[in-house]
Amino acid sequence: MFELKAIDKHFPGVHALQDVDFHIHRGEIVGLVGENGAGKSTLMKIIYGAYQPDGGTIEIDSKSVRFQNPRQAMDNGIGMVFQEQSLIPNLTVMENIFLGYENQFVKFGIINWQAMSVAAKEQLAKVKLDIDPNTITMELSFGQRQLVELAKVLTLEERIEGHLVILLDEPTSVLAEEEVNLLFQIVRDLTKRASFIFISHRIDEVLELSDRIYVMKDGKIVDVVQHDDAEVNAIQHKMVGRDIDKEYYREQKQKPYNSSEVLVTFDNVSLDGVYRNISFDLHAGEVLTLVGTEGSGREGILRTLYGMEQCTSGSVKIKGEKVTHFSATAGVSRSIGYVPRERKVEGIVNGMNVYENMTLSQLQNFRYMGVMNVPKEKSLATTWIERLGIKTPSVYKDCGDLSGGNQQKIVLAKWRSGGSEIILLDHPTRGLDIGAKEDVYEMIREMSDNGIGILLVADTLEEAIGLSHTIMVLKDGEFQKGFDCKPGSKPSLYDLVHHMI
């Protein structure tokens, strides 16, 4: 009854969705799985009207529709339960439930709180949540909030004639097991009135709940599996499987690292609520990759090492010295460089030009009595522009106007020119096109040859396997298994996925 035909969506430099066909019947629960960046969120956003497709059609009961915004999608019975909790924490539960739809309770410009409270109570009953609708939302547990979100979406039942489609984006990620079971029970009960699209990293949950499962990879639907035929292994293979080109990851250029020179030692380090009892050594010239799903603690480890988060127990040693003072400033002075995932937030200052961005972390090398030596900065920038093939008309160009690949090169140049010996890379190739990715791989190899220790969180598993000397698999903040990745004897994707999920 709801159908997407040949949906196409482009973003600058990325073909996010290609020729996607997707349909859902009345009362059906459909699962959607895929790696990060496979296009799941884009597809969701098209379904609930946040994005408009570049090509293809959306049909409801065989009538073509087009949503300009989520509100129009809602008016057609499509509701979204968000992964990031989308409730406004300082409002009451009932205000959140009817946010934007208060009009039904308004008489002569005055809201009838009593009526809203009664109506909210009815919605909460649908999700079997027995709380006072006047509770301030931030007082609820995460599990309760997730149910309130569902209750909010279920107000569509009263507002809309006909059948509903409800999207659940990672609804179980913050829930305890009994809460998950409760949620699943509620979802099954609701199929009389609504169809569900269920997205989760936890494949076993998707298998349990869904009637049919769509598997996505690289912006395409690669398989549709019926509940009874579904097998975790087969789905995992489809999710990640692609031909690994050894050339592509510069595997032939991988050289053994210097195991006598330890740059970083983590000894039983924990950060409450993020990761627990992590131990490893990072050597000069080693590429050590942390592998795990979102929320497995990978980023937390990088941030601790850089000094942005203070670990709660255990000891961190950098070049043999125990770290007692955690701050980014101290991190930089210990010659650590950090290339964050959000280039726009933590990588490049928009409005500052190329040389200003490159020297931002090493101003002390370019000043005399507080006065900047601009010619020296420019010559540094010119050198690195040439060395890394950065495409910019001049050193005066505002970095915000450059392409993602060139921005990333500038971030890398910033740390390398500053003499960083330990470089932390968080999704360094995210959002880059293939050519720019290869450039980044090339730079990683070169850095490793120069004896720089690299701690990497890769964008895809292939990338992790292709680039690493060593892989650590993490799950829910705990170490699962380590892999040695010598060229020729690298672990397979499946070896890793097996420990991740």
């Binding site: 930089v332 950090y338 200052v349 507080g370």
Partner: protein, 347 residues
């Protein structure tokens, strides 16, 4: 996937837009300078007097330019100070109090030490600058240490300053009649009083700080992306405190100019600086959310504000209308310079 979504403007349009935004304030200034003489010409034409456009204009004359420059000088100093803060994405509203306190303390010290620049009384100048710096430093420390929003700290600090100045003077005016000090206004080189040249020198210093020192670079980094500045290892708290201190010093410089201009220091010396200076910074094209703009923009902004003030007097508009026009101007400047595509929420 959301990080693939960027501005959406085509490069050509955004480049064009940037060029227009960059030169718009100067264009506005030039238009104003050519506009006011038209009114004069019209008036004389109606009365049947001979009047050649621009040549016979009272507004478009060296004399009037010098008058505008003198009126603009104290405001320029204050506006430069607040420019640094706005580049960081914060705001400083303490200028009125800081100017009053600095002016009053300057006058007291100046008179106590002999009352003429030719004696030890010249020490009153550095003392005033230090006083301004200390007030700014306190602003910065409270803002950073107690995480109080900058507008609130500085607004409160401004009131404290005004009150303190009133306590010091008891409501009296203190006259500074030293001829040497007053030569700031009375002695002219090439038709412009010395204070204009002093202000120009201060502007150059400010420009140097902004574009050639670590501190200036850090202001832009903090305003352009504070998280990134932290991730690059900058000590952002220190940058903020130093920024507020620097702003305080420039406010004190504004106080000296104000005293030099009218020869009187009193609690009311600081009046009106808040609106004028912030208007000037914004109209000059420095973005309120930080990272973009600079002291040269502020110079243009200060001139625009003062040209409008002066021009409206010349063509005889009432006072209340002048304030209204400036208010409209600020809103227009912000509306024009805001790129609504990239900013989703405004609080």
């Amino acid at each position: 996937m959301a990080d693939f979504m960027t501005g959406g403007n085509s490069p050509l349009i955004s480049t064009l837009r940037n060029i227009i935004l960059k030169w718009a304030p100067l264009f506005v200034l030039a238009s104003l300078v050519l506009l006011f003489p038209i009114f004069e010409w019209l008036e004389d034409f109606q009365r049947g007097k001979d009047h050649i456009y621009l040549i016979d204009s009272r507004f478009f004359s060296i004399r009037n330019a010098s008058r505008i420059a003198v009126a603009a000088t104290p405001g320029l100093m204050v506006a430069i100070g607040v420019t640094f803060i706005i580049i960081m994405g914060s705001i400083d509203l303490s200028m009125e109090g800081t100017v009053s306190v600095s002016a009053v303390i300057f006058a007291f010290v100046f008179i106590a030490l002999g009352g003429t620049l030719a004696s030890w009384a010249w020490l009153a100048i550095p003392v005033a600058l230090v006083v301004g710096g200390i007030m700014g430093f306190i602003n910065g420390v409270i803002h950073v240490m107690f995480r109080v929003p900058s507008f609130m700290v500085s607004l409160a600090m401004g009131f404290v300053g005004t009150g303190f100045a009133l306590v010091l003077t008891g409501g009296d005016r203190i006259r500074v009649e030293d001829e040497l000090f007053r030569s700031l206004l009375t002695v002219r080189w090439l038709n412009f009083p010395i204070m204009c040249y002093v202000a120009l020198l201060a502007l150059l210093v400010a420009w140097f700080i902004q574009s050639r020192t670590t501190l200036g670079r850090n202001f832009y980094a903090v305003g352009g992306g504070e998280e990134l500045a932290i991730a690059s290892g900058l000590n952002v708290s220190r940058v903020r405190i130093m920024g507020f201190t620097l702003a305080g010093i420039f406010f004190a410089l504004g106080a000296l100019m104000a005293v030099g201009r009218i020869g009187i220091a009193e609690t009311a010396t600081g009046n009106n600086f808040m609106f004028i200076s912030i208007t000037a910074v914004v109209v000059g094209g420095t973005a309120l959310w930080g990272g973009i703009g600079g002291v040269l923009n502020t110079l243009v902004g200060v001139l625009i504000v003062n040209v409008i003030n002066n021009g409206m007097v010349v063509i005889g508009l009432p006072n209340w209308l002048q304030d209204g026009v400036l208010g409209v101007l600020v809103i227009t400047a912000v509306v024009l310079s805001t790129n609504r595509k990239t900013i989703s929420f405004v609080k």
